[in-house]
Amino acid sequence: MDETTCKICSIPVGPYHPALEEIAFYKVYVDGERIVDALIKPGFNHRGIEKLAMQRSYRRNVQLFERVCGICSDAHTTAYCVAVENCLKIDVPKRAQYIRVIEHEANRIHSHLLWFGVAMHAIGFDTLFMHSWATREAIMDVVETLTGNRVNYSVNTIGGVRRDITPELAKYIEEKLRIVEKGTLYLLKAVKEDRTIKARTSEVGVLTKEEARKYCVVGPTARASGIDEDIRKDDPYINFEDFEFEVCVEDTCDVYGRILVRLRETLESIKIVRQALKNMPEGKLIADLPYPFPSEDVGRVEAPRGELIYYVKSNYTNIPERIKLRTPTFVNLPATKPMLVGDKLADAPQIIISIDPCLTCNDRLVIVDLRSGREKTVLLQDFIRRRVKM
């Protein structure tokens, strides 16, 4: 802020704002309608999940990590299970892995369609938003029939899965997938043909390839900036090496590219689910579990929003010694600043939304507020000491 400060006024976007489904605070400095600076402040939702995870057994943690994010809940359990399985050297049966793939991709499809609806709402196209969510309902039906739940699936477990897929169920999924594919192709056609969508989204929120590398963005945000990276291809987990799919890369570097990447990825995910249903091997659903031993490892997963990393450290107990998770939003969020600066205020919501921010899964840090007095700090230390004794 230099001598022009008097002209610049700041517009608060958030913590509670119609454009953001989740709580974050963006202080957007505008000169007229042009954004000159932005202050990003996440951290409105502290839950201490990592701490909680260090008090619960490996099995119970699956249900806990599902609740990190309501949208990519399957990605979180997959990442956690993969991390624990790597750590404790568990060999998961192939059938379980294939069922995991189906869940994982169904999760991605519903997440991308949900995001697309929200993105269309941000540019004021409520009709397409409703159509996108209507399409999403079909895949939600699939998820519900498969797992019995719509949000927290509880289907992954350490060493395998808890539910099987019968041939009738496979047929049902095929049917629903056809609806989803038709709907997604319609949305893709609408995006490619509608001139107003193009006018509102192309050349908006540009994140060049160099800047994307600098900010280490992940997932569809990186792929829309022309970076060819996908954990499913680069470091295959849950038998992704068996599947044929294309990594969708766009080099437009703008919001339009991010829309296209996500819609194309939805189609690829449908392809993967079909392959998994077709080549489903026979076998057990869950592996025999060993006793825990001191070890450590990570699980990397391509969540709908990007690379999700879980780090697990084990000891001789059935409670993990340390768990650390890094959500994709954590790396993608700072990249919204170069996207915002120089654009119009009218584009701020769709730029923020274009990284698909999942802020509640990002906010896990425990911050000791010194202003709240000494007593609280002591209480926290007491708490930690008690924890160590246990």
Binding site: C9, S10, I11, P12, H17, P18, A19, V30, E33, M120, H121, A122, I123, G124, F125, D126, T127, L128, M130, H131, A134, D194, T196, I197, A199, R200, K344, L345, A346, D347, A348, P349, Q350
Partner: protein, 315 residues
């Protein structure tokens, strides 16, 4: 027997087409829009009384005037908006060729009265002292600059062709020689584009884009004042649709007052539905993108028709 005209005037002001009728009919138009929008989006939509219920609920809620607001401006803006629109209703030809309050040059007054709500919104947003309100008011003002020119140019084409500036004269000319929508098609298209922006419906709902600036100028309004703005929105929809019916679709005039009034209501619904459909199938433009369709297309089309009328190429 001077009492009869007074009673007639009172009935016209308060019952039909004034206060009671126009507010009820405006509510129906808003409900139709919401229902069609819901059906096209795969939803069920609200019951017919929803708009009235919303306004009733707002009326019994607490009205909060922000501390930072300029009280007089903040309160007078919605009142002025509704008052101007109710006055405009009296100038519309609800009785065949005649309006409740016709006089020489009333078409000009009508157009002016329809501009007042926009200024009221700008005024209210500025007075509210909220950054969203100020940005919204700025956007409303820039939109005003863009849509007034094509709107007036299309009106000028109509005035020039009918050779009069009275509402009844314009309707009479169309009743004799066919609607101006067919004789001045370019001005008609320009009028539709300009009034879409005047109504602040998509793709021109930029002043109150909820994902960007919450509700724009309306952000700080609550309770009864917000209800007045809701009523003013409904009335705006009604009066602008009626303006379209007057300027461009004044053709089938039967002569019977009741039948003519019903036909006029049908035309209003027709125009309201055009605005509703365009609103439903479009996303929102950015503020600087809105200038292009309004000035470079609408104004140009209207200008062509004005020139055609002046040269005498209209048949």
């Amino acid at each position: 027997m001077f009492i009869i005209p007074v009673i007639t005037a009172l009935v016209e002001v308060i019952v039909f087409p004034g206060l009671v009728f126009s507010i009820l009919f405006g509510g129906i138009i808003v409900w139709m829009y919401r229902k069609i929008r819901a059906r096209l989006q795969g939803r069920r939509g609200p019951p017919w009384y929803q708009t009235y219920a919303d306004i009733f609920k707002l009326l019994i809620k607490e009205t909060i005037v922000p501390l930072r607001a300029w009280k007089l401006g903040f309160i007078s803006a919605p009142v002025a908006s509704v008052a101007a629109l109710l006055a405009a209703v009296l100038l519309l030809p609800f009785f065949g060729k005649f309006s409740a309050l016709g006089f020489l040059g009333d078409a000009i007054v009508l157009l002016y009265l329809l501009t007042i709500p926009t200024f009221a919104i700008i005024f209210g947003g500025m007075a509210s002292g909220s950054p969203y309100g100020i940005v919204g008011s700025g956007r409303e003002a820039s939109l005003l600059v863009w849509y007034e020119l094509p709107l007036w140019l299309s009106a000028v084409a109509v005035f020039a062709l009918s050779n009069t500036i009275t509402v009844s004269g314009i309707v009479e000319e169309q009743a004799l020689h066919g609607p101006f929508a067919l004789r001045l098609p370019l001005a008609f298209i320009a009028f539709l584009i300009a009034t879409q922006a005047k109504l602040a419906k998509r793709p021109f709902d930029i002043p109150h884009a909820e994902t960007e600036i919450v509700a724009g100028p309306y952000t700080e309004y609550s309770g009864a004042l917000r209800a007045l703005f809701e009523i003013s929105e409904a009335l705006k929809w009604l009066t602008i649709s009626a303006l379209g019916a007057t300027l461009f679709l004044g053709w089938p005039i039967i002569g019977n007052v009741v039948v003519d009034a019903l036909v006029f209501l049908g035309k209003i619904v027709f125009f309201a539905l055009i605005y509703a459909f365009v609103d439903i199938i479009n996303p929102r433009l950015r503020i600087e993108q809105a200038g292009w369709p309004l000035w470079e297309i609408a104004a140009f089309l209207a200008l062509i028709d004005v020139v055609r009328v002046c040269v005498g190429l209209v048949f």
